[in-house]
Amino acid sequence: MANKELIVVQDVCYTYPNGVEALRGVNLVINKGDFCAIVGQNGSGKTTLAKHFNGLLKPTQGNVWVEGYNTTQCRVSEMSRLVGYVFQNPDDMLFCSTVEEEIAFGLRMLRFTKEEINHRVENVLELLKLQGLRTQHPFALSLGDRQRVAVACVLSLAPEIFVFDEPTTGQDHLGALSIMSVIQELHTKGCTIVIITHDMRLVAEYASRVIVMNRGQSIIDAPPAVAFKNYNFLEELSLRPPQVTQLATLLGHDEHAILNTKDFCNWLSSRIKPNVQNQTSEA
């Protein structure tokens, strides 16, 4: 199970029909169980790369293999059972009159049996805590809930790998937390996660691996603690690590980057604790 290669991207170049070179020789492997964050400015090739993971785009040069299948030889609708791709804007997907129907729609199009469809819809409603909203009109829901319904639609096809394109963009704090907890749960259940985001705090808190894209190439591929360590370089790309990381570095922390509040407090406490203890002993 460890290090099972799910997606292999080999020397991939992609040029859009209008001549824009979006990818220039990308190589990477996504392993089973990864929680991978792709970051970079707009136009750096993040989304173009991710759309190769389920064959929405086929490489102009090079190859992409997903679970051993070459994506050039597969249809997207077949790939959608292996790789679930959730678009940023749920409104680009939702159109049915109830949440239930919405989730069943894809399954119907793929001609699943009635029992199988019912079974899967129930499962997905439960997993995403949408049971209470099953008969609601998707358009009447909040953005956060609509986003969860969109995830449900993709989840119903039971893919093993999930790609989320900017899942928290435009969401408030609570909405972002709720969608991230869903993603986290999918990961705990054994799914492999790829997430495209601009939110470095989110990368630091959730991802096991960060891929930094710049001008169509992957220039960093490392765990966040390593990638954020030398953040002057990232700053040149206007990718600023979260405040804890910056603050720790400014206070003289020079090992692996600190990624969350807890670790920061532990580290800071270790630096002040002896003295505080001294004070108490003197007192």
Binding site: Q41, N42, G170, V244, C265, L268
Partner: protein, 303 residues
């Protein structure tokens, strides 16, 4: 063949008699047509000229609606039922049409792409002044000025849809700046931008306030930026104005933040965590610079 030979009078910029507040909102309750629950309920606040106000709150708290009230789009364009009074730059929004208000209030929307529709940046930025009937020489001058303020010179002939998100949003700001408003209302201008674009936009917003003295009302979830630049924070929750305070008082009040689902700058979360562990933090930082100072002292004080 020149059909418009001389220029008819432009729309004059109304001057208010006396103005102590840039924004004066009194007991405003507003309900959209075909809905029952009011989007805003008995909102009152005043903003003096030159202040930088951040408007925070979760989605669908009524933040956009409040923005729309300030230039008359609500209720003039949307209809619905409005009670109370909104006076902006000394002009009552009941008495003045949107084009009149547009010369005092510049409204910038969230989605850069869908508020730009012209073929070139030049015609985009000139659009407002043209509508107001200004003579071409003056329009040219104002457009040049607005593009300089938003650091877009040289892009005049580009098509807005080919620009980056950050550039597009700056074009949107330039479009309202060309009408030389005293107040800028920005409704989540960076929520759909990448970090580079957000930084460019926020830098310009901060400078418009600090160097040109424009009054700013900014809706955002970017509390790091608010902590650094805003003078004041308003919190909107389910249509009610629930807090009106300094950024420091808002971002260091953990109960309030949790109640109204606001994520403070991360340095504040650090302080909350340290306090919960019993570490004696006496001063609450809200920016990185402050935090460096506070925590350095914390380390030293121990020795």
């Amino acid at each position: 063949m020149i059909l418009i030979a001389s220029h008819p009078p432009r729309l004059p910029k109304e001057k208010s008699v006396s103005m102590s507040w840039m924004i004066d909102v009194a007991h405003v309750t507003y309900t959209y047509p075909n809905t029952e629950r009011p989007a805003l309920e008995s909102i009152s606040f005043q903003v003096p000229p030159g202040q930088f106000v951040a408007l925070l709150g979760p989605t669908s708290a009524g933040k956009s609606t409040l923005c729309y009230c300030l230039n008359g789009v609500v209720p003039r364009l949307f209809g619905g039922e409005m009670k109370g009074k909104v006076v902006v730059a000394g002009l009552d929004t009941y008495e003045h049409e949107i084009p009149v208000l547009a010369q005092h209030v510049g409204l910038v929307l969230q989605n850069a792409r869908s508020q730009l529709f012209n073929v070139t940046v030049l015609s985009e930025v000139a659009f407002g002044c043209e509508n107001l009937g200004m003579p071409p020489e003056e329009i040219r001058q104002r457009v040049t000025e607005a593009l300089a303020l938003t650091e877009l010179h040289g892009l005049e002939d580009r098509q807005p849809s080919t620009l980056s998100g950050g550039q597009q949003q700056r074009v949107a700001i330039a479009c309202v700046l060309a009408m030389r408003p005293d107040l800028l209302v920005l409704d989540e201008p960076t929520s759909e931008l990448d970090p580079l674009g957000s930084e460019q936009v926020m830098k310009i917003v901060a400078r418009l306030n600090r160097e040109l003295g424009k009054t700013i009302l900014l809706v955002t979830h970017d509390t790091d930026f608010v902590a650094r630049f805003a003078d004041r924070v308003l919190v909107l929750y389910q249509g009610h104005l629930v807090e009106d305070n300094t950024p420091r008082n808002v971002f260091t009040n953990q109960t309030l933040l949790q109640q109204y689902r606001i994520r403070p700058p991360q340095v504040c979360e650090i302080t909350f965590e340290l306090l919960s562990r019993g570490t004696p933090v006496t001063q609450m930082p809200i920016t990185i610079d402050e935090a460096v100072e506070v925590f350095k002292r914390l380390e030293k004080d121990g020795q």
